[in-house]
Subunit: 535 residues, 2 copies
């Protein structure tokens, strides 16, 4: 066991192998973490990253998005993908890094809802393309109609995680303003539930201000027209909310602030800390509002007291305007556009906070109509207006739905099944300044207790509405059965009573019907009510 | 919509916000990707990363691991975690970066099975600890009994992703050789299925050569004793296998090789390419074995032909010795140690390849005994001898199991349920030189088609054994019923026949029993057979 004890320590030998790994090398080896694990999914991920970028850019520049996607077959293995938008374009100085460097972006530090957050997505698509096709990405961008467009061909140098420019040119004929990316990659175009078309369809539903066009490898053209000409209100960038902020983050903020007094630091660095709240916090934490934040940072115990005061003192919820919910109307429209349903209920929860990040949950439940009634309930997941296509089993949305005992709401849930079965669609949207995804592929929301609880509350609320509807339906069904039964015997009973009372049986019969229609009026449809007697 | 067209292009403004993000900042914001999403899970992740590291280090140094874990409550929020091993220690020069820099490690570039692959895990625990407790990590290591141990207190500077050394000292009294890490972190100690204890129990099962000791916050001590004194065969580092290697990777290999001839490049850079195979490949690809690899790299079409030839020419499977399977015996033992079962079947698949990475799948199915018969089948997942505790719904193991129609194997599977229900345990181990996890938290294996297929094949094979057993059980049950029925009437029949034939009824009866025991011998237990007649 210890045969080497007399030699130089093994640790010396092992240390020689220690080496830094570039983030590009890391993701090249682990591209499944970025959503590139199978050929159909790789295509969806690639389109998704480009479209998300285009939508974010257009909205930041207050432009109604017009996005064109073309997918072509190059050979047996390789597809070419073009995504073109009418966005603001990408400035020349930063373009190579925006597309050719992982962890480079503009939205990472902003506390505001956006689709892209991490500065990884589109560069990951470039990385996957060069890995599988050997070809560089080709990017054309024009930031001003008066200037020519520039065209870059670039790769990512994985050892350094820096862009490697292959060629650089001008293009005078490019659209008046916008960006176009062209990639060649190993991928498969499929149809069905997990497909580019389905992703675009769902994207169009929750982004009705965008026009999206797809030309598929069979030259078939799909256009998702704009349903409205108004941009969604642009989410406002806010300061962090004190609730759930981390000790380490707080220390870092104290160290790096320009404020000289704790009081100024508190009211200028956080959302929802006004003068009064600031004073209460300092008193609760036994801290002098005049003390230096930098000094405070050195005393961990005092910072802990400050953190505890954040939790104890009542602080208003963060402003909703950093978020951009889908809204009831669109959730409803999203479902009814593709389905005829018997019942629909939507719920929008108030803004809540996890780890200092504001978030809100919206949910909709639809039932009946032409929804498939055989299998499990269908779950549609959205995060920051982006449909989530993969990893349903890993997502807090699914887990929250599975925590619910659906029998309580009148639904069927067989032993061992985690979700209800029946003609049911459940749609959940989580909007946040920082959606906590389980991985860089952004397919599933992590099981953050605060978020899971809010999802469960939203879905339960919608499920209660459904439960009431189903129980009404059941009552109505029972009542109708009773009415039918009663009707069947009314004539005979009336005739028998005519013999006993001497009254005309038609009078008795119409009296009976009157009683019936009073008692069961709410279960009788308008025509039936007319047929069956006076109102 | 276009109100800003006359100003400076918006792109110029947007470009100012573009910024590189350090990988430490990224994971600080997205710590759920590293397995730090809830308080109980954060504790498990922290212990797991430290224990995985200890096991890897001990095995690399051929030391039988002896790992001690102590978890203590510091205050309401904070736990302190100590993990100490008898491994080779970490050399002083590299220690700060091993524990204080993400993406720094020794196993990333080695093609060989190991628990750690990414150089992220333990630094992630340090990052989480400093973020939530504000405290640095304290690491003590001794690489030689003749030298003193050194003690570091360090944090990670998230803006640069470099270690920040807080203090540096010697400690003469530390154990003769090994490493100790102490972290303070926000976490919760829980018991039950997803707990530190359960993780250690499962780790001990598949690492019977390790002694693992836990002292929990209630001062209760759990010792998982060594079940064997022999280290598992150390996995051998190999070259990449040509099957499924990526075009981009191949180009990079061609560019950076020292070989001057394609022939030397092929046989020296890949596993399982000998002289004969090399010639066949070159012929198939219409390439001159004498050509320069660097020249070849410039001709993408020619590289594509080489890649196609790799797939077309028969190449031997990669050697098994880069992998370290759990083996049948241990899989069986793993299940029977904690359960009394009626039936168990184990399967070990041959080595296969995805994207050039060798992997193999082992599976075991146990049935009956004291396994809970009410709920869904329990799934136990392992990757490179590490139990996977979270994200079951996101894992290729689960997905492969859900693809199977379990009714075919005599099991109950209600409508809408994806897994069978009944007293069933399914255990799957995936061993690979590069396990494709869905995220850095290494909780779930991505849906790589090659891997999912192999898992399905392994589980199906075990399920077929179970199916045969269950059908035998059913037959035996039916036969026993028949025997019971027959026995009940034998005496009366014999007496009736005595009257007809004049033979003594006891003789007739024993004749009957003889026939019965012959026909149903395999369904009659030894005692019953003795009771019922001659052998």
């Amino acid at each position: 066991m210890n045969s080497r004890a007399s030699d130089a320590p093994i640790a010396v030998e092992l240390a020689k192998k220690q080496k830094a790994i570039s983030v590009a090398e890391f993701f090249e080896k682990n591209r499944q973490m970025l959503g590139f694990d199978s050929l159909p999914r790789s295509l969806i991920t690639c389109v998704k990253e480009a479209v998300d970028n285009s939508l974010d850019a257009c909205e930041e520049a207050s432009i109604l998005p017009d996005i064109y996607i073309r997918i072509k077959k190059v050979d047996e293995r390789i597809l070419s993908v073009v995504v073109e938008d009418n966005g603001p374009g990408v400035q020349r100085d930063v373009l190579p890094r925006v597309f050719g460097k992982l962890l480079y972006g503009s939205r990472f530090h902003a506390i505001r809802q956006s689709r892209g957050q991490q500065g990884i997505g589109i560069s990951a698509a470039v990385l996957y393309a060069q890995l599988t096709s050997g070809k560089p990405a080709r990017i054309t961008s024009r930031i001003d109609p008066k200037l020519p467009a520039y065209v870059y061909e670039l790769k990512i140098d994985t050892e350094t995680n820096e862009p490697k420019i292959i060629s650089e040119n001008y293009d005078d004929f490019f659209t008046s303003r916008g960006t176009r990316i062209e990639l060649s990659l190993e991928a498969t175009y499929v149809r069905g539930k997990q497909s580019v078309l389905e992703y675009l369809r769902n994207t169009a539903i929750v982004n009705p201000h965008a026009r999206i066009t797809l030309v598929d490898p069979y030259d078939e053209k799909f256009v998702f027209e704009r349903a409205c000409d108004v941009l969604p209100r642009q989410p406002v960038e806010i300061k962090p909310h004190p609730h759930g902020i981390e000790l380490g983050t707080l220390v870092k903020m104290l160290q790096s602030t320009d404020s000289h007094r704790l009081s100024t630091f508190l009211s200028s660095s956080f959302a929802k800390i006004g003068g009064h709240t600031m004073e209460s916090i300092c008193r609760e934490a036994s801290l002098d509002p005049g003390m230096s934040p930098q000094e405070l940072a050195k005393d961990i115990e005092a910072v802990k007291r400050l953190l505890a005061a954040f939790q104890k003192i009542k602080i208003m919820a963060p402003p909703k305007d950093c978020l951009s919910p889908i809204t009831d109307d669109l959730l409803k429209k999203g479902i009814t556009q593709n389905h005829r349903v018997d019942f629909i209920s939507t719920v929008s929860r108030p803004v809540s906070v996890y780890r200092g990040n504001p978030f809100l949950v919206e949910a909709a439940i639809a039932y009946g109509g032409d929804i498939d009634s055989e299998g499990r309930a269908e779950i549609y997941r959205f995060a920051n207006r982006v449909p989530l296509m993969y990893q349903q089993g890993a997502c807090a949305i699914t887990h929250a739905i599975e925590r619910i005992n659906w029998k309580n709401y009148g639904l069927e849930q067989p032993k061992g099944a985690k979700a209800p079965i029946g003609p049911l669609m459940i749609m959940v949207h989580v909007a946040s300044t920082n959606v906590p995804f389980t991985s860089e592929s952004k397919d599933a929301i992590a099981d953050i207790p605060e978020i899971e609880d809010e999802i469960e509350l939203a879905v339960r609320e919608a499920a209660r509405d459904l439960g009431r509807y189903l129980s009404e339906q059941k009552k109505a069904l029972d009542a109708r059965k009773k009415i039918k039964m009663f009707e069947a015997y009314t004539r005979e009973l009336a005739i028998a009573l005519e013999g006993l009372t001497g009254k005309d049986h038609t009078v008795i019969e119409s009296k009976f019907m009157e009683v019936l229609s009073k008692k069961y009026s709410r279960f009788v449809g308008p025509e039936e009510a007319e047929e069956n007697g006076p109102q």
